[in-house]
Amino acid sequence: MSNIPVELKYAKTHEWARTNDDGSVTVGISDTAQDQLGDMVFIEVPEVGATVTAEEACAVVESVKAASDVYAPVGGKIVEVNEGLADSPETVNNDAYGEGWIFRIEPSDAGELGALMDADGYTGFLAAEDH
């Protein structure tokens, strides 16, 4: 079964969000998402300093199969992107919740995190999507 860490929050568009000690939010795509998309061949990350709103498309993951948008789970400023993915896009497949992170946001309204699902919610969401 899919790996869904309990300490993370999840969006319906299959991003995960981790709140760091400094209040910033690290974002990637879920294990289920990487598995569905297949082997990654190209990741387009946002620009550091860019301002995004919640649910705005701000990165692209391209697998051998298809291109897929990555949406910001919360609004704010992009403060860091995973430059390593340029040379190793497969990291998203191999370590979706760790080294495969895509960008980090400084949220403008941390309250937006409340709109995301917890692990149980996401598990149920996936089960419902399956039917």
Binding site: G38, V41, F42, V64, K65, A67
Partner: protein, 363 residues
């Protein structure tokens, strides 16, 4: 319910991700399309292609029938077992399907056509064959496995019966030979050496298991597509269809104009198009920067006009995005591709991109 090949249970056991393909439950991959692609380029992989249609054509006038049916000329086939790739055209020169035909005897040729075009192909054959007294026999009781890669032949040969092995050892490229119901051909759709083996459906699972035990890895339709694209081979329905002639699909080499007196279906229309000149052509593209070319992306060729990508993907061997695109005939050495709203430069190149594991174009 979708059709299942005799290898369906093997795909499930191998962890295949099954998708609908032309009405068949087929494996798109067994985990990693990239690994499967590389396995075929570097070692050996196997594909279940049992969904494809095997059609036997029999009757004294079979050669004469095929001379009329195909734009390529079966008179190029002089030795028994020799294969020919070509197109079956409609009257207006559009491609009904591309196919391989094997010459076995003058009263017996075997054809392999696409799964997605099964119904219309059979209907077309049934319509054209009676005038020549040719019998069209589908062979759904047969399975087909393609074993491809630099080590494909070495891994396959020990698994064959003595008689089949003796025949298969001797096969030159683009030849096939029978051993009972088994038909082994040195053909493929990957740009690598290997075999395509037609065998009784009830023998398919055992043979698949033997191949797997011999180190041949199951390979899905995803890798089959990137392999054939790298190899510069067209895919019916993407790169050509009934509205496109071979001259617009980089398939002029499959049209046998000589002898001029040979009539074939679509000839008059093709002659006309050749005289007037085509307005579009199919070319290879190599994306200069980062990104991935995809089917249906728009191609801009400056003052010459616009075109479209017909097959695009990431090339695992070249580690770059490659494509076939139908573009205005005067398109130069470069063009722009609209990738999700951004215009990126692509170089126009002549496929194949990869042959026998080696890059065929400068990166």
């Amino acid at each position: 319910m979708a059709n299942r090949t005799p290898l369906y249970d093997e795909h499930v056991a191998d962890g295949g991700k099954l998708v609908d393909f032309a009405g068949w439950d087929m494996p798109i991959n067994y985990g990693s399309q990239l690994e499967e692609h590389n396995q075929v380029r570097n070692d050996a992989g196997m594909f279940d292609v049992s969904h494809m249609t095997v059609v036997d054509l029999t009757g004294e006038r079979t050669r004469e029938f095929l001379r009329y049916l195909l734009a390529n000329n079966v008179d190029r086939l002089k030795d028994s077992g020799k294969a020919l790739y070509g197109c079956m055209l409609n009257e207006s020169g559009g491609v009904i399907d591309d196919l391989i035909v094997y010459f076995l005897r003058d009263d017996f040729f075997r054809m392999v056509v696409n799964a997605g075009t099964h119904d219309k192909d059979i209907a077309w054959l049934e319509k054209q064959a009676p005038a020549f007294g040719v019998t069209v026999t589908e062979r759904p009781e047969l399975a087909m496995i393609a074993v491809q890669g630099p080590n494909a032949r070495d891994r396959t040969l020990p698994l064959l019966s003595d008689a089949a092995r003796a025949a298969a050892c001797e096969l030159k490229p683009f030849f096939g030979a029978f051993d009972g119901e088994w038909f082994i051909a040195r053909t493929g759709y990957t740009g690598e050496d290997g075999f395509e083996i037609v065998l009784p459906a009830d023998a398919a699972a055992t043979f698949w298991q033997q191949l797997r035990a011999a180190g041949v890895k199951p390979t899905g339709l995803g890798a089959r597509d990137t392999l054939r694209l790298e190899a510069g081979m067209n895919l019916y329905g993407s790169d050509m269809d009934e509205s496109i002639s071979p001259l617009e699909a980089a398939l002029s080499w499959t049209v046998a104009w000589e002898p001029a007196e040979r009539d074939f279906i679509g000839r008059a229309a093709l002659e006309q198009q050749r005289k007037q000149g085509v307005t579009q052509k199919l070319v290879g593209l190599l994306l200069e920067g980062k990104g991935v070319l995809r089917n249906h992306q728009k191609v801009m060729a400056g003052d010459f006009g616009e075109g479209e990508i017909t097959s695009g993907s990431f090339s695992p061997t070249l580690q770059r995005a490659i494509a076939f695109a139908r573009v205005p005939k005067d398109t130069g050495d470069t063009c722009q591709v609209d990738i999700r709203g951004k215009l990126l430069t692509a170089r126009v190149v002549k496929p194949p991109f990869v042959r026998n594991g080696e890059a065929q174009i400068d990166l």
